[in-house]
């Protein structure tokens, strides 16, 4: 069966450390993968995109990797800050369904001062 999974448990990280979030998928043909941030009571906000032929993308303190062999994307926030606390969603652009986005349920990240 097809599925996209993110760690359902909240991730608690000490301020200043690197937070790493995981997105695993099964039985999809991803053309790309997007990461979004969602704050309580708000809509998701786009952060980064990585294509299936790219290994790594960076934007300021954010880094995304994509391993199509492991069927996994990792999302890193370096030098984490309490303001980074939010839920982070991955969304896979599925080649077989004309790039329709398939969403993970998100991982709640808590950065402790």
């Amino acid at each position: 069966s097809q599925k996209i999974e993110q760690n359902s448990e909240a991730l608690n990280i000490q301020e200043g450390k690197t937070a790493t979030l995981t997105c695993n998928y099964t039985n999809y043909s991803p053309a790309y993968l997007q990461w979004y941030r969602q704050d309580p009571g708000r809509g998701p906000v786009f952060l980064l995109l990585i294509r299936e032929n790219e290994k790594e993308k960076r934007k300021e303190r954010l880094k995304v990797t994509f391993d199509t062999t492991l069927k996994q994307s990792l999302f890193h926030i370096t030098a984490s800050q309490p303001a980074d606390s939010a839920t982070y969603l991955c969304a896979l652009g599925d080649l077989d369904s004309n790039y329709q986005l398939i969403w993970g349920a998100g991982t709640k990240l808590i950065i402790k001062p």
Partner: protein
């Protein structure tokens, strides 16, 4: 100058009622969407419109009917509301349909509670 705005933010209503949610985007995007986010936080696409034409219509009860009067607006009308319709509904837009060059821009959601 909100990019994607939807109203109302909260909607509490009784079973059997009919309600509408409105959405407007001022980004000049061609494609608009309705998503449903359930209690487990999964975002599931309901409808997609490109330039006022229906592109995607996922398995959604026909009590849900989208209306796009122009490419900047996509409203959602729900007839005969049921308890299971309670969720957060998000409107979104993108520049040119699905694709790597078209990240989604979301509104802040409408929390629908059916009692």
């Amino acid at each position: 100058d909100t990019a994607v705005s939807q109203t109302p933010k909260y909607l509490v209503t009784q079973m059997g009622n009919d309600k509408s949610i409105k959405c407007e985007q001022n980004l000049g995007h061609d494609t608009m969407y309705w998503y449903k986010q359930d209690s487990k936080k999964f975002l599931k696409i309901m409808f997609s419109y490109n330039n006022k034409e229906l592109i995607i219509n996922e398995t959604v009860p026909n009590r849900f009917s989208p209306k796009s009067p122009d490419k900047a607006h996509l409203n959602l009308h729900i007839n005969s509301l049921e308890l299971g319709d309670s969720a957060v509904y998000f409107c979104a837009s993108s520049q040119e349909g699905s694709g790597p060059n078209s990240p989604l821009h979301f509104g802040n959601g409408t929390r629908l509670t059916v009692t």
